[in-house]
Assembly symmetry: C2
């Protein structure tokens, strides 16, 4: 099954354009594999106030909007015991992203970096993960804060967040820290 078979499109042999965005200067695409290796089920939808990408918060902690994770009732028994967790990992599918970029130039950074050094939705497998605060569970609906995705985003998984294995407070992403350092300097020299 081609990744684009649902929309009726075929992947071009190289540098496929998709329905979302063209390449920017400095961006590089590679051919997508000619077959896929595994298949996903969408198990629900995430409802947020954001209908267009430019409305979304830049990162999930910028907003304290409470959003609704609507689990398909088929899977509802899977929630048993989750109400005791303060935070969850939400996995979702960024279905409007191109999958063939290896080098990207994000608009707000303006520098070329590898896809795996970025959290951009454009990646071979556009799976996002967000740490969300679990406010409450009503039946098949989780009310959470700390998500930044578009309304109606397909849900792939929910897991409890364990501080013991998931939290690394002193982790650093060097390119980002240096960039922030420069920004802070710019601000303080104003």
């Amino acid at each position: 099954m081609s990744s684009q078979s649902r929309s009726g499109k075929r992947a071009a042999p190289r540098g496929r354009r998709d329905d979302f965005s063209a390449l920017r200067d400095g961006e590089v695409a590679v051919a997508l594999p000619d077959h896929s290796d595994a298949a996903l089920y969408f198990i629900g939808r995430i409802r947020t106030p954001w209908q267009r990408r430019e409305q979304c918060p830049k990162n999930a902690r910028e907003s304290d909007a409470v959003c609704a994770v609507e689990l398909d009732p088929h899977w509802i028994e899977g929630l048993k015991g989750l109400e005791t967790a303060t935070h969850v990992l939400l996995f979702y599918w960024m279905d409007r992203s191109r999958r063939d970029l290896v080098l990207q130039v994000p608009r707000h950074y303006g520098e070329q970096r590898g896809t795996f050094a970025l959290r951009s939705p454009a990646r071979p497998n556009p799976i996002a993960v967000s740490v969300a605060r679990l406010v409450r569970i009503d039946g098949n609906v989780l009310h959470v804060s700390g998500v930044d995705c578009l309304d109606n985003t397909p849900l792939l998984d929910i897991k409890p967040y364990f501080a013991s294995t998931d939290s690394v407070p002193d982790a650093v992403v060097g390119w980002h820290a240096r960039r922030r350092g420069r920004l802070d300097k710019t601000r303080s020299s104003r």
Copy 2:
């Protein structure tokens, strides 16, 4: 494409058994959807010292073994800039797990809980995420510590770990904390 089409098996309408494990008392399976919604590419393999599940560390921080994440060279440009990160999120596919369980009784806990309240590999979309310490990158190979998966596990994605959005040191999973509390009490009363 059925999730099982590569092995030539068909999902039974209810409570499909897979090649890995039968149901334990208290476990509940539901029918899998009759179609999948999206497709994944395996982009590499994770090489670890563990060939069988019972050899794997119980959680990723139990072991400081340095493991090799072998990215398919096709995607190598995507690593540019990642060497500046101290930690990465590794996404991988637990391809030997059944996908239809909603209630599970993990052997080491002995209590029935929902799939989404557990980190068990058995889930509708068996995507795992591990926070790994990035030791170094040699070409297309990442040397990391902090993974607990079987040797040759298919790789889905690599992302930089941002403490600002990914780290929640005070998160609590109530059922697990209570269980630890009981264990600590048992130990101290010996």
